[in-house]
Structure formats: C-alpha cells, structure tokens
Amino acid sequence: MAEKRKKLLQGNEACVEGALYAGCMFYAGYPITPSTEIAEGLSVRLPQRGGKFIQMEDEIASIAAAIGGSMTGLKSLTATSGPGFSLKQEGLGYACIAEIPLVIVNVMRGGPSTGYPTGPSQSDIMQAKWGTHGDHPAIAVTPAYVQEILSETVRAFNLSEKYRTPVIVLYDEILGHMREPITIPDAGELPVVDRAKPTCPPEEYFPYDEKYEVPPLAPFGTGYRYHVTGLNHKKDGFPTNDSKQIRENNMRIMNKIENHKDEIWKNEEKFLDDAKIAVVTIGSTARSANFAVRVAREQGIKAGLLRPLTVWPFPDKAVKELSKRVRAIIVPELNLGQMVLEVERCAGGACAVEGIHRVDGEPINPAQILEVIKKYA
C-alpha cells in the first residue's frame, strides 16, 4: 500500500493531488499553457468523486464560476498563467471584498502579454499582491519542489478556508512541467481546514459580522439568506455609503491577515546560523540557490539560504532580522527586480542587497548565484 503512494508526477499533476487532498470539489477553468494539465487532471478526477469540473468560455468566467462554487460551500479552485491571471484580477478583488475562500494557481510564464508560454518566469510576484485594484489582503504561497506543490496547494486551501479569502499558489513553468518522485500523503498526515459555518439561527446571521475577525460563512442553500456584493457593505452584506462602516470593513479584511502573519509565514532556512551572505529566493530559482550555497560552503564561504514559502504577506520579520546579521543578501529572481524591492525595504540599508535577474526564458543557474556570493565573500 505504502509503495503505491509513491508516484512520479509532474508539478501540475501534484497540484491536482493537493487540491483533491484538501477536499476540492469544484474547478472552473480555461485552457492556458503551462497550467492546462491541472484542468485536464481535474476534469477526470473531480467527477469521479462527485465533484464538478466546468470548462468556462474564458478566464474571467472561470474565476467567477469558482467564486460561485465556493459560495455553495465547496472548496473551489481555478488555475491559469500570466495572461489569464491578468484577466482574473477583477474576480480576485471581488473574492477579497466579498470574503470568498478560493484558490487560484498561477503557473508563471514569460510576459508581458502572451510572452513566452512555454518558458519559466517569476514575474508575477508583484501582480499577485497588487494586480487587482484597491487595498486588499493577499496571500501567495510559493512551492519549489513537486512534493511541495502538493503540500502547498493543501496549505493554500487551508489558509483560504481559515481566513475566508482568495489564496494564490505561485510557481513557474519549470516546476509545473518537471517530474519528480513524490509521496501522496495518507489521510490525516497533512492538516485540512474547513471554513467556519454559522451555528446561530438564520435570522441572527450576519455574513460580515464585525464581532468576528473572520465571520463564519454560510453556504448558499442552507437556509441562511444574505446579500453578497462587490460594493462596500455593512454587516448584513448590503451596500453602504456610511464612512465608518466602509472603513471598519476595509480594515477588518486587511487586519484578518495582517494580525496573523506569524501563522501564515513559512520559510525554509539553510546554513543561516553563521551565514555572512544570504540568498533570499523562491520557487525553481531556490533550487539553484540551494546548490550554489552548498558549493560556497564547500569552498569555506559562509553562505546561507532563506526560502519563503509564503511570499505574500512578505516575510518582513525574517528578512529584517537576517539583514542585521549578514553582509549581503542576494535576491535571484526570474524577473527584472520585484522581490528585491521588498528585501531592500526590509533590510533598510542594514546590509548590501543585490538582485540577480533573468528574463530570457532560461533559469538562473547555480554558477550565476555563486559568482555573486563570491563577490561578498
């Protein structure tokens, strides 16, 4: 039995396994390279477990349908890549303000626009935070291994259910299409969180009750009647022009994430205890960084790695603390400088910060990172 749980899977296939493990019962999506295997896999697997797969007519409809699916109480997923992620931004903002749990996978490819559909990129890091208009909370998780795509997809669902908010799973084309042997966890091995449902009688229910940090969400069709809107609303869900209520609701949806960053953050640290040079990076680039740091250590250079698995909210605390005890932080990323801005902000001049950037559709290789590590050795 245990043997059978070992599988050689592509990243996107592992995402399917993660979604199923988390209890996903609804998927709405649209074909787009390099994420389509997620839709293909779920089109077969969801109906087998009584779930629903819908291929929609475009990306906008896909996120709208996933929001609708979630409102009926089903854990819902949609997956896409850059151009589709751009189109989904309006729906993403709606899910933020209406506080609808939802997981959105963005398998990043080169951009802007159609860009490089079959090439890797990490250029949607800022879009994951700032892509939709208005102030809003953002949670984005960033796996770096096929096994981790499974577990981080589960964690994304958990965070989404717990905080009643959309959560983004960000990984790049390399990871989406890379095959690695992974173990499908047994039931109970990973925590699975379900959203809180109201226990009060329907007439006493308020979907945006300010007495809660995260109000319970009643699935549609269970006798709880309430209004859902993208307009600023009061506790019963109906639109309001009252400035006090607008402010309170806006602050609550920000603070429900802001006040729990410690629980949402997740970092992997390697050789950081005595490190003088740190590399901070995510996803497939972290694999190169891992190799570079090990080679540096073999050469007697005190290098270490900080790998955020939660890129939003940005791991301010870990980076701030790190910047005070290292000479330099190196930030390799497959874009022209996004995460490096956050690292600079957190470091606040306490150490040198240098980015390594690449946008030619090729990965950043360990030698490139090692070269910059040596510069600060």
Partner: protein
C-alpha cells in the same frame, strides 16, 4: 468567380515553410481566402495555431501586413486597424479610393468562446472587415481541450470519454446563426475541400461593405486523431453527412449552397476519427443514433429556411 487556374496564378500570400502540422486545414483555408481578395489585404490573428505556426522568429509566412495582439481580441484589433486606415485616408496619407481589405482570423476557441464579445462588438459597429473562424472543434494549440465548437460526444482532454461520461455532453454553439443575428450583410459556412465554394464566398464577403463572416471547417489530424492525408476527405465527409452544412446568408436571405445528392450517414465522418472511437462500442449505439437524429433535425431546419428571408 475565378477558376482554379486563375486562383493558382495569383500571388501566394501565406508562404510555405510555416510550422503548421501536415494535414492541418488552416493553410489551405487562409490561402484560398487571401487569393480571393482582389486587392491589398491587411490581416490580424488571434492567439492560436495559425498565429504561432506562421510567425516563429525570425521568420514569418505572411506576405501582407499582419498583426497579432492577444487571444480574445482579433476582431477588436482589426477594428482598430481598419479605423486607423480610414484615418490615414482622411489625412491623405493613403489615397482615398484605395480599396484595402481587412481580414481577422481566429480559431474556434478564440472566436466562439473568449473572442465572442470582441467579435460581436466589431459586427455591431459595422467595421468594414471579414472575420474568418477556422473551426477545428477544440483548443488544439494548448493540447485539445473542449471548446463550445467541439462536436457532441467528442473526446478531448477536458471532456474525456470514460466509463461513465462519453465525451462532450453538449451540442456545439451555432456561431454562424449568432453572427447572422447581428444583421451582417454576408455570413457563410464553408469547407476547404470545396475550394470553389469557399473562394466564391470569400470573394463575395470581401466585396461587400460592412462586417462579413466565414465559418470554415478545419480538419486537425492531431486533435481528431486522424491521418494527415485524410484531412480534405474528412472535411468533405463533414459536409456530405450534413454535420457541417454549406450555406450563406446574404442580405438576410438564406441559401443552402450545397445539398448532397445522397446524404451520407454521420458514422462515415465519425468513424475514421479517434476522438469518436468510443461511439462505436456496441453499448453506445444509442448515442450514435441520437447524434444522427440531431444532425438530421438541424439539417431539416436549414432546408426549411432555404430561400427565405431569415432576418
């Protein structure tokens, strides 16, 4: 109308050496249409097989001005282009009497689904252009996912035929009727096997002022699981079985432009295609007959409208 000899003498505006698959229906469709334009042509393409297959850097197969912008907006892009040319004429940068044709291309995904809003807008604004949909019945460029043009019961990677579900469960969207409902001066369905019919319709469409539309059956060996050399034969069978009727609506009048002398059973078109393999299992005989019945009723509906004013 030009004879095939005359057509062959015209310049080839989509060159050889492109990367579209052997047996793909798209190149003959594009070539026949471009040869049917008597005068300079400007084209746009939606994201899709035609776009990626003809423009891989540093080459282009297009011998005319050509633009690609995104997936959902071939019709919107050509709207802008056509408007720009009008502005240039107004300013005297282009001779006012120069008759330039505008053609927007898109696959069924980029036209029936994500591009429908853009197409509808351009038709309603009455831009002077021809929209050509090459309909191969799925998202072939991303790996054969179902579209709203995918035939009933077709096996695709997101409508897989298994033990319980037998491929796509929905009847295809009738896009040509949707376009006709925009009161366009000319809209038609065509197939590349009947070059004379396709060329004649393209010539008509391009001669008319205002928005026009051609929906063209485009065989796809990759997505249909067929042999490359059978593509044109299969295009013909789609018409002879009346799955894909050839008709036109000109100034609101319906005309069925080809009526097979002997209507072939639908199974003759379906059987050679791997995407319909499951329909030939004995237990699926009822599905096959249901499919045939629907094709029959659609064909009858069309025949009943033949020669009539439909809007």
């Amino acid at each position: 109308m030009a004879t095939i000899k005359e057509l062959a003498k015209k310049d080839e505006l989509l060159s050889g050496g492109h990367r579209l698959c052997a047996g793909c229906g798209i190149p003959p469709i594009v070539r026949i249409i471009l040869r049917s334009a008597n005068g300079p042509v400007v084209a746009s393409s939606a994201t899709g097989c035609l776009e990626v297959g003809t423009t891989i850097y540093p080459y282009t197969a297009w011998r005319i001005p050509w633009i690609h912008s995104a997936f959902e907006n071939s019709a919107a892009t050509i709207s802008g282009v056509e408007t720009a040319y009008r502005a240039l004429k107004k300013r005297g940068r282009i001779p006012a009497d120069k008759d330039i044709k505008f053609v927007a291309f898109g696959g069924d995904g980029g036209t029936y689904d994500i591009g429908l809003q853009s197409l509808s807008g351009a038709l309603e604004r009455r831009h002077n252009f021809l929209y050509v949909c090459y309909d191969n019945g799925a998202y072939m460029n991303t790996g054969i996912q179902r579209s709203s043009a995918t035939p009933l019961f077709s096996n695709t990677t997101t409508s897989q035929a298994g033990e319980v579900i037998q491929g796509k469960q929905e009847w295809r969207k009738d896009l040509t009727r949707i376009v006709v409902a925009h009161n366009v001066p000319f809209a038609a369905q065509c197939s590349p096997h009947n070059w004379a019919d396709l060329s004649k319709k393209a010539e008509k469409a391009l001669a008319v002022k205002g928005p026009t539309f051609l929906n063209v059956m485009s065989p796809c060996p990759l997505g249909w699981y067929t042999k490359s050399e059978d593509s044109i034969k299969l295009a013909k069978l789609s018409v002879d079985t009346c799955y894909w009727p050839l008709y036109e609506v000109e100034n609101g009048v319906m005309k069925v432009t080809y009526k097979p002398k002997e209507k072939k059973p639908l199974a003759e078109w379906l059987k050679p295609q791997g995407r319909f393999k499951h329909l030939f299992k004995p237990e699926n005989a009822n599905l096959l007959s249901a499919f045939q019945a629907r094709v029959d009723s659609e064909w009858q509906r069309l025949i009943d409208l033949d020669g009539k004013q439909v809007y």
